[in-house]
């Protein structure tokens, strides 16, 4: 069994005033990304009054394109509640992917305090992400 799951995927959420810290360990991929998105989204409510969402990748061993989709989704959700995303302790594999896809700057840009998602993220019907 352990051979099939060389590294267990874990998400640990810590909450301090205004900051949600999420430790992500293991492989963030096709099989685990939804778990991270769901877990963090549950804590990202407007009532929580968060100003920062810190994802701590110290224990991250692998990330694939679906994992990056999860980060892009979390960035949108954080922006929607006015929180800035931080990607801390980035291992090489994450750094490489962020550099290749050119999204680091976008992901970690300070959120506007208005708490609205980016203008262009509304779809054709004008609804926005929540």
């Amino acid at each position: 069994m352990t051979n099939l799951h060389p590294t267990e995927f874990t998400v640990t959420v810590y909450r301090t005033a205004g900051t949600l810290t999420v430790r992500v360990a293991g492989e963030l991929d096709y099989d685990t990304s939804d778990g991270l998105t769901d877990m963090v989204t549950r804590h990202l409510t407007a009532e929580a009054g968060l100003s920062d969402l810190r994802l701590d990748f110290r224990g991250l061993t692998w990330i694939d394109s679906t994992g990056l989709t999860a980060l892009l989704t979390l960035h949108r959700r954080a922006a929607a509640v006015g929180a800035t995303l931080h990607l801390d302790h980035r291992p090489d594999v994450l750094e490489r992917m962020l550099r290749l896809t050119n999204v680091l700057e976008h992901l970690t840009a300070p959120a506007s305090r208005a708490g609205t998602p980016d203008r262009q993220e509304g779809d054709a019907t004008g609804t926005s992400v929540h």
């Binding site: 694939d64 394109s65 290749l100 896809t101 262009q120």
Partner: protein
């Protein structure tokens, strides 16, 4: 209730082993016994009967002959027993008396007479028969289910259903499938005979109840119909004799009717009993479930195949003096599409750029494949704008942006134009692994293009690189499924860019197809049986030699070399 002393005891003290007073006790008991008791002398005359026997055989009184009141099986048994002693291990005698069934137990009376104790076992026999029937039917049903569920092939399911129905339910069975246009698929089976399937126009309304059974609504129970009412097409070839009884049972499917089953028995056979009708319904339910599962499966398989055809990677050939080759392997080996894609859009003439696209959508399987379809179509529409890769990417980004998800694509655009013996390339990577170029001398170069992934951010930027391929040189576009193929001797190591570069260095001068083949083969070997992501590669090569006289892209005729 009679209370007289039974004659067998009182009149024959010499032959009875029991003392006379014991006889009184027994006598008082047997007349009131709950089972019928007959005392018969050795000549077959009734000596006495108890109360239960008088209820069973009204009118039987002492002095009558036994054969006047009971069936021959008991008279014969009586005769045999008075002729000689019955063996101790003989099976109990039994037989019908007036619509009931009895076991007859003889005990000796005086003067060679016999006391017959009749035990009614009608109910037990019925229960035993019912149990055996139920067991047989359960066995048949489970056999039906296991046979039918082992196939998802609709014609095979219909064949098995008809054949088993003819075997276990009737002399012959006709399975009427749902209509295909004006025609009906009919499966005929005769017990012990072959199964035949035909598709033909028949008038289903000619069989009472069949139209309703085929519509599946309103739900109709299986019903008997008059054998005289059925049209000729219902009777299978090889059916012996006129039809005696007929049942039409609907085959209930998952929401859609799976057809109907017509069961036929010849007039020489017993007609269907109520229990058999219930069983036919159970049988039809199982067959219907299996048939509709098979039908749904084949419909889905058709839909998937249709969609798949649109999404499959194209076959690539030479265009305007430049060779193109592509290879693709989906993440799940049983699927043929996934999140990687490539296309080559030939320039309208040799002076125009040919656009090569290779990309990778986040995700796997059909979900991802559908998005690749959208991207490929959009890019096709944007072909007139490919002089400016940045603009194409901007427009594609706008088309893909959605608030519902952050799905994105990374891709490489390559615009290729043959100039003399060389090819000019404009390469743009949008968040994708940069292409690699194999020079004629085996040097492997990175193309330093980089840009933003497409479809998730409000704006994208990309940097286009221009380069030139000489004869025998190749530019390889590939997805990370190749470099991230996990395997090797330890099973968990990436194939990696360094191994890819080394492999490419050995490919200098090879045709495009050989380069793709080689790269795919090495990645597959590295993987072994390991799990992998979608893998795609496209090679753009300028042939090393040949009668190419293309000058300034004008003489396109000469690139027919390969045909």
């Amino acid at each position: 209730m009679r209370t007289c002393v039974p004659p067998l005891v009182s009149s024959s003290p010499g032959t009875s082993a029991r003392p006379p007073d014991a006889g009184h006790t027994v006598g008082a008991t047997w007349t009131e016994a709950p089972c019928p008791v007959l005392v018969v002398d050795r000549h077959g005359g009734l000596v006495d009967v108890n109360g239960a026997a008088r209820i069973l055989l009204p009118g039987a009184v002492s002095g009558d002959w036994l054969h006047e009141h009971v069936p021959s099986w008991l008279c014969d048994a009586h005769r045999r027993i008075t002729d000689g002693p019955r063996p101790a291990d003989a099976a109990p005698l039994s037989g019908p008396i007036r619509e009931r069934h009895f076991e007859a137990h003889p005990t000796a009376a005086g003067d060679g007479g016999v006391v017959w104790w009749l035990v009614d076992d009608t109910d037990r026999r019925l229960a035993e028969a019912a149990l055996t029937d139920a067991q047989t039917r359960t066995e048949i049903l489970s056999h039906v289910s296991s046979t039918l569920l082992s196939t998802l092939n609709v014609p095979r399911c219909m064949e098995v259903t008809a054949s088993m129905a003819a075997e276990h339910l009737a002399d012959a069975a006709v399975l009427v499938g749902p209509a295909k246009g004006w025609r009906q698929s009919l499966t005929y089976a005769v017990r012990g005979g072959p199964v035949s399937q035909v598709v033909q126009m028949v008038d289903v309304s000619g069989v009472p109840g069949l139209t309703e059974a085929l519509q599946g609504f309103p739900p109709v129970p299986a019903r008997w119909i008059n054998p005289d009412d059925i049209p000729d097409w219902v009777t299978p070839d090889g059916f012996a004799g006129p039809v005696g009884s007929v049942i039409v049972a609907p085959l209930p499917g998952h929401g859609v009717p799976a057809g109907a089953l017509i069961l036929l028995r010849s007039s020489t056979e017993q007609s269907f009993s109520e229990g058999e009708e219930v069983f036919a319904r159970l049988f039809a339910a199982r067959a219907g479930a299996a048939l509709s599962a098979a039908r749904l499966y084949s419909e889905q398989a058709t839909v998937t195949a249709t969609l798949m055809r649109e999404l499959l990677p194209p076959a690539l050939t030479s265009v305007h003096g430049v060779e193109y080759a592509g290879g693709y392997r989906a993440a799940k080996d049983h699927e043929r599409v996934g999140g990687d894609f490539y296309d080559v859009h030939p320039g309208s003439d040799p002076s125009q750029d040919t656009l090569v696209v290779l990309g990778d959508v986040a995700g796997k399987g059909l979900d991802a494949a559908v998005l690749t379809g959208k991207i490929r179509n959009t890019l096709h529409a944007l072909l007139p704008l490919t002089d400016d890769h940045q603009r194409v990417l901007d427009l594609l980004n706008g088309a893909l942006l959605s608030s519902r998800h952050a799905r994105f694509v990374t891709l490489v655009l390559a615009s290729v134009r043959r100039r003399g013996s060389r090819a000019q390339l404009r390469l743009t990577s949008a968040g994708h692994l940069p292409p690699l170029i194999v020079r004629a001398d085996g040097t492997v170069e990175d193309v330093p293009s980089h840009g933003t992934l497409v479809g998730a951010l409000p704006a994208v930027t990309a940097h286009t690189v221009r380069t030139v391929l000489g004869p025998g040189e190749t530019c390889l576009l590939y997805t990370d499924g190749i470099t991230e193929a996990r395997g090797g001797p330890l099973g968990d190591e990436f194939f990696g860019e360094q191994r890819l570069r080394r492999a490419l260095a050995e490919c200098a001068g090879l045709p495009a197809e050989a380069v793709v083949e080689r790269v795919q083969m090495l990645a597959a070997q590295w993987l072994g049986a390991g799990r992998h992501d979608d893998m795609a590669a496209v090679a753009i090569s300028v042939p090393r030699s040949g009668p190419l006289t293309v000058l300034n892209g004008r003489a396109g005729v000469s690139n027919r070399r390969s045909t």
